[in-house]
């Protein structure tokens, strides 16, 4: 381990030995590892993740609770925009299959997909925060500003969210649109689409009311599976934009070797992903009447 927690806490020799010993005992650092693991897990269940090393005596839980809403806001918004943008492009490509639009859109998507998202975030920040200062240079709200009311506050927050959300959307939409396109193409080849066309329905009606609804089911699964990616993206995005979320907390705790925070943040992040996946599973069973959970 890159640093004995007790030593870090004791600021490398600035505390007298008795104080260090007391600290070690308080944090159970002198008990064998497996005991530490058990006590950690038990405490975690009760919501007690211990104290932050850097921001002592703030508890890890307090830090997490302040940061979590921001991250959820960012991730929630980003998931929605990425899904919608990706699905729409996928649908358009599927309908205009093999046409110039299709090929062009796909090539652009693949190129953007290859870009490392933190780099894209930096480039966007530079272009639209510095050169053409349309968006703010970072953080969740304008530092030190006083807001007239909740609506103004909300507006400021959204203005700050714009670039991060755009960054995550651009890097993430490609896989959504690719999967949507392929699923749609398969669906469009099914017999009931032919029937719908034979019935004389307009193109749009066939596309939206018949084909899309059936293609939507695998898309829900896809969105659920991609949640992990969006969470990973959040860490980088928050770091580049200094956005006060759990991602930035993770970055900071790495810098300062604040292990309790790192572990706690991680725990929360994993729990969020698992809960989201569970929700998606339930949603899937509701959407598809053919599936029944025993």
């Amino acid at each position: 381990m890159p640093g004995d927690p007790a030593r870090i806490l004791a600021n490398e020799g600035m505390l007298p030995k008795e104080a260090v010993d007391t600290l070690v005992r308080t944090f159970n650092l002198d008990r064998p590892y497996h005991e530490q693991l058990v006590s950690y897990l038990v405490n975690a269940f009760r919501g007690d993740f211990g104290f932050s090393y850097k921001y002592y005596p703030t508890t890890v839980m307090e830090l997490l609770l302040t940061r979590l809403p921001w991250t959820i806001l960012l991730l929630g918004l980003a998931t929605i925009t990425t899904s919608i943008f990706g699905i729409v492009i996928g649908l358009v490509c599927a309908w205009k299959r093999e046409s110039k639009t299709d090929v062009a859109a796909l090539s652009v998507s693949i190129f953007i997909w290859a870009i490392p998202y933190f780099w894209l975030a930096m480039v966007l920040l530079y272009l639209f925060g510095y050169i053409f200062p349309i968006f703010p240079l970072g953080h969740g709200v304008t530092v030190g500003a006083r807001h007239g009311g909740f609506v103004e506050y909300l507006g400021d927050v959204l203005w700050h969210l714009a670039l991060p959300v755009i960054a995550i959307t651009l890097t993430g939409y490609a896989s959504y649109s690719l999967i949507t396109r392929n699923t749609m193409i398969e669906t469009l080849a099914e017999d009931y689409v032919l029937t719908a066309e034979a019935k004389g329905l307009s193109e749009r009606q066939v596309l939206l009311r018949h084909a899309a609804r059936n293609a939507l089911l695998p898309l829900v699964t896809m969105i659920a599976l991609r949640l992990g990616f969006i969470v990973s993206g959040a860490i980088f995005t928050e770091t580049v934009f200094s956005y006060p979320g759990v991602g930035l907390l993770i970055y900071e705790s790495i810098m300062y070797q604040d292990f309790p925070v790192l572990q706690g943040a991680f725990f929360i992040l994993s729990v969020t992903v698992i809960v989201a996946n569970l929700t998606a599973d339930v949603l899937y069973s509701i959407l598809d009447p053919r599936i029944k959970y025993r």
Partner: protein
């Protein structure tokens, strides 16, 4: 040996498509850059050749970084790190994924059940945060990075290999081989594996891209190996030294562009291979 598609056919198929050509060109460009890095770069990237943050000049086309090292030389040497990590991590991942998938798929039973459960858990957890956590704990060395990236990426391939194994296991020639007395282990490696080779290859190439991006990401967060010049680390220092506000945009632009292009190269080659190997993706009749 039974092979679905021969190796020369695969290569021909890749070169035939536009995607494949572009991809291969990019890949070979960077491999060339990596192998001949010492010859191509004007200076040794570890040497301090001038004042920090010097602007681009004829002697230093990209200027100097925060310690006074030539940025262009750093850029050229970065290819080595990316390719090293990419190939190494992808190989280890493929190896583990193959072994797990083949064993689980062929022998089935309790081994299969428990292994797949473990694989599912790994698949659900977001891998990048886990990598970050591990990297923060084990210390900054390039071999640690490679190890971490490999250990967290193999479940995808394991699933794929396992489902392929399940299908291939029922083929008549497998039964024939068994009745001839060939041992199970031998069947797995000499009969079943060669038939899924193109699919595994496609996956490995895409894995290389993933590994390169993961390394770039970890380095960007400061978890990379400071003794190796990597594009991700260049971006890390650029971010730390606020390159933007010093108009050193090229410090950020070029490493990022390189990561993109090398990733794109492997992605294109991988996708083309996938099209060739995966019958479901071929043009529908």
């Amino acid at each position: 040996m039974f092979k679905g598609i021969s190796q020369s056919e695969i290569l021909r198929a890749v070169v035939a498509t536009k995607k494949g050509k572009i991809g291969l060109t990019l890949v070979f460009f960077f491999i060339f850059m990596a192998i001949f890095a010492d010859l191509l770069s004007p200076y040794n990237p570890f040497d301090r050749v001038g004042p920090p943050f010097a602007a681009p000049s004829t002697k230093h086309p990209l200027g100097l970084n925060d310690i006074g090292q030539d940025l262009l030389s750093e850029l050229i040497h970065g290819a080595r790190v990316s390719l090293l990590v990419g190939f190494a991590a992808a190989s280890v991942r493929t190896l583990i994924g193959l072994l797990v998938g083949l064993m689980a798929g062929y022998f089935g039973g309790a081994l299969d059940d428990w292994t797949m459960r473990f694989v599912d858990v790994l698949l659900i957890l977001p891998s990048l945060p886990l990598m970050i956590l591990l990297a923060a704990y084990v210390g900054q060395s390039i071999w640690n990075i490679i190890l971490i990236i490999s250990l967290l990426g193999w479940p995808g391939l394991a699933r794929l290999v396992r489902s392929q194994t399940l299908t291939l296991r029922e083929r008549p020639y497998v039964e024939a081989a068994r009745s001839m007395g060939i041992t199970n282990l031998s069947i797995v490696f000499t009969v079943i594996f060669p038939n899924m080779f193109p699919l595994v290859l496609a996956n490995t190439v895409l894995d290389i891209m993933g590994a390169i991006l993961s390394e770039a990401g970890l380095s960007f967060l400061g978890l990379g190996d400071p003794t190796h010049k990597s594009w991700g680390m260049m971006l890390y220092y650029a971010q730390q030294r606020n390159a933007f506000f010093q108009h050193l945009w090229y410090w950020i632009a070029f490493p990022g562009l390189c990561i993109t292009l090398i990733g794109l190269g492997f992605a294109l080659v991988g996708m083309t291979l996938d099209e060739v190997a995966n019958p479901r993706l071929r043009r529908r009749v």
